[in-house]
Amino acid sequence: MLTPPITSRDHVTGNQQGSTEIVEYGDFQCPYCGEAFGVVRGLLQALGDVKFVFRHFPLSESHEFAMDAAIAAEAAARQQQFWPMHDALYQHQQELSDELFTELAQQLQLDLERFREDMQDNSLVSKVEADFESGIRSGVNGTPTFFINGKRFNGDYRNLLAVVRH
């Protein structure tokens, strides 16, 4: 079961009042998460009744830029641009680097000075780590892992749309 359930500190997109709640634990450098990004985007376009939450689960030992990418998304969130940054990171997954984070921040017209400061802010590291720990608690074993209405989805994420539709 999802622990803790969706709270106000989560990043939510889709229909805020949606009756189906999907939570993804993801890593911006994980290729399967990159693939799942397309699946989720299609799902949100197809279904108007889904509330979607992204939580960080960076596998830092395997993926060099996973942690920094998560922090970049959180830094963008401080300027209300979490989802645009989330999307941009997946769209540029092959090119992740420190330079890219700044470039994307620029494209999203963020206050760069503030973005750079926030990238160094330890409280953002703590936030990402809290997400990771909640993933461990919830029984996340790898990425991406999805929860549908609080329950871990053990099937293939490529079938997510069909599963949610039924």
């Binding site: 030992e61 461990i136 608690r137 919830s138 996340v140 074993n141 790898g142």
Partner: protein, 152 residues
């Protein structure tokens, strides 16, 4: 399979070509034993990668993680290096599976996918046998460690 309340059998196994680890050396710490079938196999690789990321949470509970399989020390060394693992993988290689047998988790030539949490006095406080093809994750381990610390 040994259960909660059983005394954890002591053992000494090679952790690398030039290092051995004995369970009794770790008295005073909680120990997590993660038996698994084989280096490099997909589920085991994911499981060990997950624990590698979770080490800092185990350490908060004064716990040391040891992976154990029947693979040899050179195989372990190559696997650990390739995956950047920061914990010891022990070789239950000769006599094959001797320690896995002591813990009751040896079958068909391999260690089964089994977890044990042993307290600082060397007593098993939690054990779990996972289906062979299923990554058991780390949530059960963390819950067990919390219980151990609460009663200690």
């Amino acid at each position: 399979m040994l259960q909660k309340g059983d005394k954890a059998p002591d053992f000494t196994l090679a952790a690398s070509p030039d290092k051995t680890v004995s369970l009794s050396e770790l008295r005073g710490k909680n120990v997590i034993l993660a038996f698994y079938p084989a280096d490099w196999s997909p589920v085991c690789t994911d499981q060990m990668a997950l624990y590698n990321e979770t080490l800092r949470f185990f350490e908060r509970h004064n716990a040391v993680l040891l992976g154990i399989s029947v693979d040899g020390k050179w195989c372990h060394q190559a696997f650990a290096k390739d995956r950047n693992l920061h914990f010891d993988l022990l070789a239950d290689f000769e006599p094959k599976g001797a320690v896995s047998r002591q813990y009751g988790v040896y079958k068909d030539g391999e260690s089964q996918r089994a977890l044990f949490v042993i307290d600082d006095q060397g007593v098993i406080q939690w054990s779990y046998l996972s289906p062979i093809g299923e990554n058991p994750g780390a949530d059960g381990i963390l819950q067990a460690l919390e219980t151990v610390n609460a009663t200690a």
